[in-house]
């Protein structure tokens, strides 16, 4: 649609991920490595699931649109399941790596805690997922035309960007919650994450009824944010601490 829409959508979709990266990840090389490895794991899961879908699509009749739509839904769900499997696999890998890191570090413990790894791994998944969702749409938004010729909504670009933003943050929160659940052996957490992921994916299939997909996904994202905050060691007490800290700072300074 032109450069304005390109930059607007790029900022919406990747703004939070970018700011998270520069403020929390970029300074620590270990975190960068875990981020990129996480992105790679997500990528492999996507590759495998898309291979399955591709084979299924080619093996069946390409003209039967209902069948193809069904196959797409199946592929989508299969991909979600595979992503969570890979998330679990990455968790196991990181646990093993953690022991190794603890062994070679000068202090007793590992330089990075499981919580931090959970957050970084989740962010890695989210960034890669966002990139794959959005880059190709962004490149088309640079041209002079906008979506709508064939009856699609003209808000296509902006809603794609909003969905990508939500999904990136959701992956981050799911990473935190998932690893925490694995640590404490709470298997129902893993199942819950998987189910929520399936729900979000399923909601995106409602497009172009954007009213039906974007607000519910944001509601889920907010809920997940709260859950991740609590499971990563935050509490209402800390929030009130923060508030009083600020208040006292404000009092002392004024």
């Amino acid at each position: 649609m032109t450069a304005a829409v390109f930059f607007g959508c790029a900022f919406i979709a990747f703004g939070p991920a970018f700011s998270l990266f520069i403020f929390t990840i970029a300074k620590d090389p270990l975190r960068v490595i875990i981020l990129i490895a996480g992105a790679f794991f997500w990528l492999v899961s996507l590759l495998l699931s898309s291979l399955v879908w591709f084979i299924a699509m080619k093996a069946t009749n390409a003209q039967d649109l209902n069948l193809q739509k069904g196959l797409l839904i199946f592929g989508c769900m299969f991909s979600v399941i595979l992503q969570e499997v890979f998330r679990f696999g990455y968790y196991r890998l990181l646990r093993k790596a953690n022991e190794g890191l603890a062994a070679i570090s000068e202090e007793e413990s590992s330089p990075i805690s499981v919580r931090e790894m959970a957050y970084v791994a989740g962010l890695g998944f989210g960034i890669m997922s966002g990139a794959f969702s959005m880059i190709n749409t962004l490149s088309d938004s640079l041209g002079p035309g906008t979506v709508g010729m064939f009856g699609d909504s003209q808000y296509y670009f902006i809603t794609s960007a909003l969905m990508t933003l939500a999904l990136t943050l959701l992956h981050t929160f799911w990473g935190v919650v998932f690893f925490d659940g694995c640590e404490r052996k709470r298997w129902w957490v893993i199942v819950a994450v998987l189910c929520l992921h399936l729900v979000v994916s399923g909601l995106s299939l409602l497009n172009p009824l954007y009213v039906g997909s974007v607000p519910p996904v944001y509601v889920i994202m907010l809920l997940m944010a709260v859950w991740a905050f609590f499971s990563s060691g935050g509490s209402l007490h800390n929030l009130s601490l923060l508030w009083t800290c600020r208040k006292s700072n404000a009092e002392t300074s004024s």
Partner: protein, 688 residues
């Protein structure tokens, strides 16, 4: 452009992912107007390098121009014109306000308007024979305006793209209609046209830039000279290794032009403008084949078909130059006289006019020759023919003869169906097609039946061809008693007219061409001269088709095998120096006995038709044609919707807001992280 010529009809679908498919509709079969340059000017159309986008506006009438030019609130506009609105006044108005206009598209018409000629009123006025030193009162069409209906659009320069497309107004009616003078709502339907031309200013500039490519990192030619190949053949063959003057040789030349042009690139037909002439000459050559074997005339007869005549006589000026410099099999002193066949398809009744040059006829010898020639013709009058001598004081119409006269005073006559102004109302335009010649076939005929059907147009041209053939024979000193046996074959004429004007890919044309060229015949046939190529094998399909036609109609079939046909010098009686040997497909007759391919021996050759200005390096020459065609990367058009500026700015605003707020929040959280996320080792229930 040579490199992108093949891509012309292929839609460039580089971006085939699904998002792009939701946005853009590529338009197939686009016909652009391209940039041509000569010694002093550039003409044609140009788009910006990343295409020109404009909101589509369908023009209802000339008064409706007010909306896109001044009143409309969503410039720039892309104007969609019906063909009857494609006039000089509208295009000039658009040209003046071109800041608000992204481009113009003209809808491909189904019927012809009453008259339309985008050429100038005085074709080739600066490169003909009349100038300030030769017949100044006749120069620049002072006495006779040949093409009074010409509006000169082809020679104007437009800095926006002009395309010719099939009608598709659905998008406009859905989104862009102006209701009660109020502006339509976004999103609006828009079109983007790409036709960026590399060459600028004039031929000298672009040729200089071509020469610089040896030193640049990214060598790209910017323009190519126009040109092709002339086809010539003779009754008695000439040894092609003997060039220059031949002693005691006096040749009667007969000439016609092959090419034509239109405002848009590569869509010209020239039914009356050139086809009527060269088909007549081919039929006359065919008629002379038998009688010249039986009773050969004293002089040789040379048939010449010139390419590139629409662009300041490229072909004929090249042949004259070659003759002057001893690079052709004969030279100008060998030319006895020249008979040229101009536009002969639209005769009023049965009148044929003989045009000659009054200035050259002031020389008595020339005058006598011309009068002789006319006498021959008048003596050939059928009962229903009238040959009118037009020599009083009217100049020659634009014709190849003018280039011969520039070099040497040669007796010559141009045969035409018009006394003064052309009868052709569509000179050098897209509408000069079969309808212009009244070529009609009865309904419900298959292509093969139409091929054989004798149309009235064909009969008329056959009569002219008979007259031409007889006159040539008499002029060449042939036996007077044989003259009445010379008759042009109307079946050949009607087959040629069908092939050139209706469907080139027919069984007769297929039989005449070699097997490796059988895909060369594409429809619709196109007669624009195009850019010059260096080897005869790459000559334009039209030129090669005329070459094979002339070979078939004047040559002889031989019994040589394919190998012998390619290397005839091994045989004692054959000589590649004298004849050309062509292996052609031949026909498969209906009764099943396969005739198959055979070898044709004919004294038909191709000679290069590239303006001497390019060989001499005189790119700003006033004497020779200096026309070049610009190169381009790709030419395409696409339609899509555009969103309002407000929505775009909203998106950008939301994006910037999201980015800044996320930066702030993240910074804040990361500095307070130790407070917010207390360590996991501390019991969560500790009270503070």
């Amino acid at each position: 452009s040579v490199t992108t010529r093949d891509l012309k009809k292929i839609t460039l679908d580089v971006n085939s992912n699904s998002v792009a498919q939701k946005i853009y509709v590529e338009v197939n079969n686009t016909v652009p107007c391209v940039r041509l340059l000569n010694a002093t000017h550039q003409i044609g159309c140009q788009s910006s390098i990343s295409g020109d986008t404009g909101v589509i506006h369908v023009l209802e009438s000339e008064a409706d121009l007010e909306w896109p030019l001044t009143k409309g609130p969503n410039p720039p506009y892309m104007i969609l014109l019906e063909s009857h609105l494609f006039t000089r006044s509208i295009m000039m108005k658009i040209k003046k306000e071109s800041s608000r206009i992204a481009g113009v598209t003209v809808v491909v018409p189904n019927t012809s308007p009453s008259e339309f000629s985008p050429h100038t009123t005085c074709p080739n006025e600066n490169t003909g024979v009349y100038s300030d030193t030769y017949g100044p009162h006749l120069a620049h069409c002072n006495t006779t305006v040949w093409n009074p209906l010409g509006n000169g659009l082809s020679y104007e320069e437009f800095d926006f793209p002009v395309f010719s497309l099939k009608e598709d107004k659905q998008c406009y009616y859905d989104h862009n209609r102006v209701v009660n003078g109020s502006a339509p709502q976004y999103p609006l339907c828009a079109m983007q046209l790409f036709s960026h031309m590399f060459a600028v200013t004039d031929t000298a500039t672009c040729m200089r830039r071509n020469d610089v490519i040896n030193f640049s990192i990214n060598p790209e030619m910017v323009c190519d000279p126009l040109g092709d190949f002339n086809v010539w053949g003779s009754i008695r063959p000439y040894n092609r290794s003997q060039l220059g003057h031949r002693d005691n040789e006096s040749v009667v030349m007969a000439a016609a032009r092959l090419d034509s042009r239109a405002f848009f690139w590569d869509v010209s037909t020239g039914a009356e403008g050139s086809i009527s002439g060269f088909v007549t000459l081919l039929a006359a050559a065919h008629a002379l084949r038998d009688v010249t074997q039986v009773a050969p005339p004293t002089h040789n007869i040379l048939f010449a078909f010139f390419q590139g005549e629409a662009f300041d006589y490229i072909g004929s000026s090249r042949m004259v130059y070659d003759m002057q410099n001893g690079k052709f099999v004969i030279d100008l002193d060998n030319v006895h006289s020249l008979l040229e066949i101009g536009q002969v398809g639209l005769r009023n009744g049965s009148d044929l006019f003989l045009h000659s040059d009054p200035v050259s006829r002031m020389n008595d010898t020339v005058n006598d020759q011309v009068r002789e020639h006319e006498r021959y013709r008048c003596s050939l009058i059928h009962r229903h023919h009238r040959l009118v001598d037009n020599f009083q004081s009217s100049p020659l119409p634009p014709s190849s003869l003018q280039r011969f006269l520039r070099a040497q005073n040669i007796p010559g006559i141009v045969l035409a169906d018009h006394r003064a102004a052309f009868n052709n109302k569509y000179y050098e335009s897209y509408y000069d097609n079969a309808d212009n010649l009244n070529l009609r076939y009865p309904p419900n005929m298959t292509a093969e039946e139409q091929l054989e059907f004798l149309t009235d147009t064909a009969m008329a041209l056959t009569e002219v061809a008979t007259v031409v053939a007889r006159a040539l024979y008499k002029q060449a000193g042939g036996d007077g008693t044989q003259v009445d046996n010379i008759k042009a074959d109307s079946k050949t004429v009607t087959q040629m007219l069908f092939g050139f004007l209706v469907q080139a890919n027919n069984s007769w044309f297929q039989a005449l061409i070699p097997p490796e060229l059988k895909d060369m015949l594409s429809d619709p046939p196109d007669f624009y001269v195009g850019v010059a190529s260096s080897s005869p094998a790459k000559a334009k399909p039209l030129t090669r088709l005329v070459q094979f036609l002339l070979a078939n109609l004047t040559g002889t079939a031989t019994n040589l095998t394919q190998d012998q046909c390619q290397k005839p010098d091994d045989l004692p009686d054959e000589s590649v120096q004298m004849y050309s040997y062509l292996w052609v497909q031949g026909t498969v007759p209906h009764n099943g006995t396969e005739k198959g391919p055979f070898c044709v021996r004919a004294s038909v050759r191709l000679s290069q038709a590239l303006s001497p200005a390019f060989d001499l390096g005189e790119y700003a020459s006033r004497n020779y044609s200096t026309w070049t065609e610009s190169r381009w990367k790709f030419i395409k058009a696409r339609i899509f919707l555009v969103a309002s500026r407000d929505l775009e700015m909203l998106t950008l605003g939301v994006g910037v807001a999201v980015l800044f707020s996320s930066l702030l929040v993240t910074y804040f959280i990361s500095t307070k992280a130790d407070v917010l996320f207390s360590s996991a080792r501390e019991p969560a229930s500790a009270a503070y």
